[in-house]
């Protein structure tokens, strides 16, 4: 039973980790905690659901399940479209709200409060358009298959875990091996010095929104595939996302992923050992413990 809880925790942790990467990147570069990030997951899932449904209606063959999975090609194609559209949504919110506040020199707390407002607006807009009734990418049932050590997982779950791992490696390589990644790290460390190095900080901020929102869309689609799609799915994940990004160390992509897995495992083991009603408390306990014991997180930057 414990081994199964570990498998469930890793799968859920992969989704939390992907979302936490977006939180940690926006936090480290824009210097504020964006409480609207969870809504990008929800929007990502709903946009993909709409695109997938539209593709399936136009070309029914795209809805035929691929191999052992529960979904057809319409979902991966819709995922790509959703990454683009969710990124556009994040850029629009920044243009309408956060960018104006930054330019007027608003205090961090104003940006944080504004993010609460943005989250409320985005969540209620989703509920208005799609209602609060749960939605699904597919109605196909999947039977979990035995793996090893008594663990079982569905093909969809294994795909999500693998995709999360590949995505983290790609984002890590982007940040450490490419000029765009170096520019992001530079702005994160010292935005003024970055501009003195010829970097257009505004472009880097746009890139961070695009990357964070695209990853949120991936996490939202994954969550929608494995559980269900609801307007409050992002809100429910918000605390675990923040717990993971702070535990991992603000600005650290591998840290966010590892911490996402830790939070996911802690949640799953809590359900197993203590009871499902305590699940929501786990992320909060981790968050408080990290802030008290190791505020820089596991991979917090050592600045000189």
């Amino acid at each position: 039973m414990i081994t199964q809880a570990i498998m469930d925790g890793l799968i859920n942790g992969g989704i939390i980790g992907l979302g936490a990467i977006g939180v940690t990147l926006t936090y480290s570069i824009l210097r504020f905690a964006n409480f609207g990030h969870g809504e990008l997951l929800s929007w990502g899932a709903y946009v993909a659901l709409s695109l997938s449904a539209a593709l399936g209606a136009m070309l029914p063959s795209l809805s035929t399940p691929i191999g052992p999975f529960s979904f057809g090609w319409s979902v991966p194609i819709a995922l790509i479209g959703s990454m683009v559209l969710t990124a556009l949504l994040a850029l629009t919110v920044d243009w309408l709200l956060f960018g104006r506040l930054r330019r007027s020199g608003s205090a961090i707390i104003i940006l944080v409060m504004a993010s609460f407002g943005a989250a409320l607006a985005l969540r209620n807009l989703l509920e208005f358009i799609f209602t609060s009734k749960p939605a699904y990418f597919t109605n196909a049932l999947q039977i979990s298959k035995p793996l090893f050590g008594g663990m079982r997982a569905t093909p969809d779950q294994l795909l999500v875990l693998g995709l999360a791992f590949i995505t983290v490696v790609l984002v890590h390589l982007l940040l450490t091996r490419t000029p765009a990644g170096r520019a992001m790290r530079a702005v994160s460390e010292n935005a003024q010095l970055a501009s003195l190095t010829g970097i257009d900080v505004r472009n880097v901020i746009r890139l961070v929104w695009v990357l964070g929102a695209a990853l949120a869309a991936v996490a939202g689609v994954m969550s929608g595939l494995l559980v269900q799609i609801r307007p409050t799915m992002g809100l429910d994940l918000l605390l675990p996302l923040f717990a993971a990004s702070i535990l991992g160390g603000i600005g650290s992509v591998p840290g966010a992923m590892l911490a996402g897995l830790i939070v996911g495992l802690a949640e799953a083991l809590t359900i197993q050992v203590i009871g499902a009603e305590w699940r929501a408390a786990v992320a909060f306990v981790i968050l408080v413990a990290v802030l008290l014991l190791r505020p820089n997180g596991l991979f917090g930057k050592a600045t000189a």
């Binding site: 520019a183 790290r185 190095t197």
Partner: protein, 246 residues
Amino acid sequence: MSSEILKLQGLVSGYQPDLPIIQGVDLSVSEGEFLVLLGPNGAGKSTLVKTIAGLVPVHSGRVYLAGADLTDVPTHRKMRQGLGFVPQTENIFATMTIRENLQLAAQILPKARRAARIDAMLAMFPDLASRQTTRSGALSGGQRQMLACARTLIVEPQILILDEPSAGLSPKMVSEVFEQLVRINASGVTTILVEQNVKAGLQIASRGVILVEGRVAHDAPADGLLGDPVVSELYLGGHKKEEVTA
């Protein structure tokens, strides 16, 4: 006669609109010149160079680089147009390695030139070459200044502006940094150095400009200022206001 690289025309600037710190500076810097900017604490030396770099708002007046008006150009574009600025503190990316700092600075160059320019900087600063994978935050104060210079020079700026690179360094480190600055200037890079140490600054520069209360009080060849009694009086704390009018 060398051509004019930098020209400041009636420059008034400051952090707040109603509180100018720089109060009407006219200055012309020729190609290849080594100018040291001196003045008592609070004279506006750092504010002036930060204004040139675009870090302090201009209230009125113009900033020209090689004839182009850069007054309203954002900082990152000024750097791409040939202005090099080394801030006094936090002038390197401490969490990155030496090589990453150089790669970052080189990425505004055409791809084909980047590797050659990184190699050129490592040849100019051999101390850095042997420690390329060292995290920059672990460097000594002098090495940090060297890396900050290399980071700025890598794009071959038309003018290099340094805001008190000697601050916080030991006397030995200061002389090493100054020797390097002399070499950089001798290689043809127009240099503006903000310095608190009047004597040391005037000894390495070709021209001295003394700023007092946001205005140019003296502008003369460095040799001449070194022996000027007014200069020594200014820096011994006993200057009279009427002696320092521009």
